[in-house]
């Protein structure tokens, strides 16, 4: 019976792995193909089924006039907007979360839990509800089709994630650590940045990772709020899908778009395994 379940378990894991990995293998394979290899029936294995070429990858750096797809600028736009939006969201979100975790706020019937819910509620609404207000507001401030406008929108979208994760994290950090820091001579600000913050790195890393994932993969707002001056990577990749789709470049661009998240995942994994709160309160 044990052997049967073990076999079943491995079979399920294998099937799921294939389901997850297959699209990547497909994209990697396609990115090394050319027009003929794509259009002349199904081909899978390089050097056997088709002759690999770097054309798809070279096209990423070339302008459309040179026969390329020009995703370098959208790529760096995406990096800039995601990094700036995530960094500011983490900074503000961490401070807000610490305050919500440690201090009691009362304003009429509103309490800490309501304020936290207010932040989270920004993410509960369907994005389309926010699209028109954002469009009008950015238009009024002449921030449509600008990186700054997108960063502001991303802060609104990402900060709730940071607040949500960090409030929960700070709630698990024993208050006695802050109190001990105060007793040991720290004022409240020193207690925060000398003691609480260094012990909150795992939480900040997780919140940062989620912010980056949400920011990096956003298509909807970058599509609605940009036109010609600024283009982010998801929009640029979708724009490649035309009547004559260059599947080889599109695959290469898709892989490029995944790469930063893979790098982030590796860094985050290292941080998460390194830092933890054991020893703060046994």
């Amino acid at each position: 019976m044990g052997y049967f379940y073990t076999t079943l378990k491995y079979l399920a894991v294998t099937l799921w792995s294939v389901f997850v990995i297959a699209p990547f293998l497909w994209a990697i394979s396609t990115s090394f193909k050319d027009f003929q290899s794509v259009t002349n029936g199904a081909t899978y294995i390089p050097w056997v089924d088709f002759e690999p070429t770097l054309e798809g990858w070279r096209a990423l750096w070339k302008s459309p006039a040179q026969g390329g797809v020009a995703i370098v600028e959208p790529f760096f736009n995406s990096v800039f907007v995601t990094a700036a939006g995530s960094a500011i969201s983490i900074l503000l979100g961490t401070l807000a979360a610490y305050a919500l975790s440690r201090f009691t706020f009362k304003a009429g019937p509103i309490r800490n839990g309501d304020i936290t819910f207010f932040f989270i509620s920004q993410r509960i609404m369907p994005p389309v509800v926010l699209a028109i207000p954002f469009f009008i507001m950015l238009g009024k401030f002449s921030l449509l089709d600008t990186l700054v406008g997108l960063i502001l929108v991303y802060i609104v979208l990402l900060m709730p994630i940071a607040v949500w994760i960090m409030v929960d994290f700070f709630n698990k950090v024993p208050r006695e650590i802050d109190e001990t820091a105060l007793i040991d001579g720290c004022n409240p600000y020193q207690a925060f940045y000398k003691v609480v913050l260094p012990n909150s790195i795992p939480g900040i890393v997780v919140a940062g990772m989620f912010c980056m994932i949400f920011g990096w993969t956003d298509f909807f707002f970058s599509f609605i709020l940009t036109f010609t001056e600024v283009q982010l990577l998801p929009v640029a990749i979708v724009a490649l899908n035309s009547s004559i789709t260059p599947w080889w470049s599109l695959s290469a661009a898709a892989l490029v778009s995944v790469a930063p998240l893979v790098v982030v995942a590796f860094i985050v994994e290292r941080f998460l395994s390194k830092g933890n709160l054991s020893g703060a309160l046994k």
Binding site: C186, G275, G279, L281
Partner: protein
């Protein structure tokens, strides 16, 4: 140096956490606050530390209004019942932390840290990470950090409660020596505990707390010999003092139709009437010619046996100084050592004690 609390009150919700708390503490003394869980011990310690502000009342140190000084400027050190340390720092950095905050010279910091680590038996552990230490060692680090400050007031909030029995016994002995030395350095040492044995072992002054109120403040000996109320007698004894209602009539103490005995000599002055009588578990033994009791429960604890007995409405716990087995429902003959009998008024105040009553 003296720390004086006057009428400290704190009632954040429906119940008092501090209820008209008054005390005076002097340098060079160990004070043990004893009380059950939620008695207000931690609240009182945090109030002294400045982490909690009382709603009314005052706290003065040498005549200065201590309440106006922010936590980080008060000369206090505190050890929690949880092993609170800074997990991102090494043992050395943990202990050095309060001294670095004071911007002391490095050599002075090093000397003090090494001395404190040596005091708590952690020589050679300086470079270890906190996570790499056992619970007992972590609590020693927290204690070293409180000692290194050489603070005027050292607060210890049930520091041994989360340790296993053996380690607790070992550290209790070590801590007592450290605390005695610390107290002799003109500090005020305040230790909170739920354990009467621990409180008595530490000696010094005892403050008995319940529902945010200080019920009695006296030396450990005085609190043991003359608990001023039934509540204090319950809190400061483990197992709690046996209490039973009875009457004094015709020179006799009558507890039930079958349990009555002559009024002991120290209670002769009691007028006739109803009382609550108290007898410690150790004053109840098994011997022929005693009162008939039914065994309700028998618990072996180390080399002793706690025997829960019942007769009509009289329920007592006896402490036998040997391991014995009993069957539940078995009838035994229990003898009361009435020379250790306490008498309390029906409102709980001490009326008569084998040690002469309140001084």
């Amino acid at each position: 140096m003296s720390l004086i609390a006057s009428n400290l009150c704190l009632k954040p919700d429906t119940e008092y956490h501090l209820n008209d708390v008054c005390f005076e503490m002097s340098k060079g003394e160990i004070y043990t606050i004893i009380g059950r869980t939620l008695a207000g011990k931690t609240t009182l310690l945090k109030t002294i530390a400045g982490l909690i502000a009382p709603e009314s009342g005052s706290l003065t140190l040498d005549g200065r209004d201590f309440g106006r000084i922010p936590v980080w400027k008060r000369e206090v050190a505190m050890v929690y019942q949880q092993f609170i340390n800074y997990p991102h720092l090494s043992v050395y950095e943990n202990v050095a932390f309060p001294l670095k905050q004071r911007r002391m010279p490095k050599t002075e910091i090093r000397n003090r840290v090494m001395r404190a680590l040596s005091q708590v038996g952690l020589d050679g552990f300086e470079n270890r990470k906190i996570q790499a230490l056992s619970g007992g060692q972590q609590q020693r680090v927290a204690l070293a950090r409180s000692l290194v400050k050489e603070a005027n007031i050292v607060l210890l909030d049930e520091p041994l409660v989360n340790l296993d029995y053996k380690l607790r016994e070992q550290l209790r002995e070590e801590f007592r020596n450290i605390f005695s030395a610390k107290a002799s350095e003109n500090s005020i040492l305040i230790y909170s505990s739920t354990d009467p044995v621990e409180a008595m072992q530490l000696g010094g002054q005892i403050l008995v707390m319940d529902e945010g109120r200080i019920l009695q403040q006296a030396s450990a000996k005085e609190v043991y010999e003359n608990p001023n109320s039934t509540k204090v007698s319950q809190i400061t004894n483990d197992p709690a003092m046996n209490l039973f209602e009875g009457t004094v009539a015709d020179g006799k103490v009558i507890l039930s139709s079958e349990i009555h005995f002559d009024l002991p000599e120290h209670c002769q002055a009691l007028p006739q009437g109803s009382y609550i009588f108290g007898l410690r578990a150790a004053a109840i033994s098994l011997a022929d010619g005693g009162f008939p009791f039914t065994v309700e429960l028998s618990e072996i604890s180390g080399s002793e046996t706690f025997l829960h007995l019942k007769h009509e409405n009289v329920q007592v716990v006896g402490l036998l100084d040997s391991v014995q087995n009993f069957n539940i429902g078995e009838t035994v003959s229990a003898q009361f050592d009435t020379t250790h009998l306490y008498a309390f008024a029906t409102d709980g105040r001490l009326k008569s004690s084998p040690y002469g009553g309140l001084k």
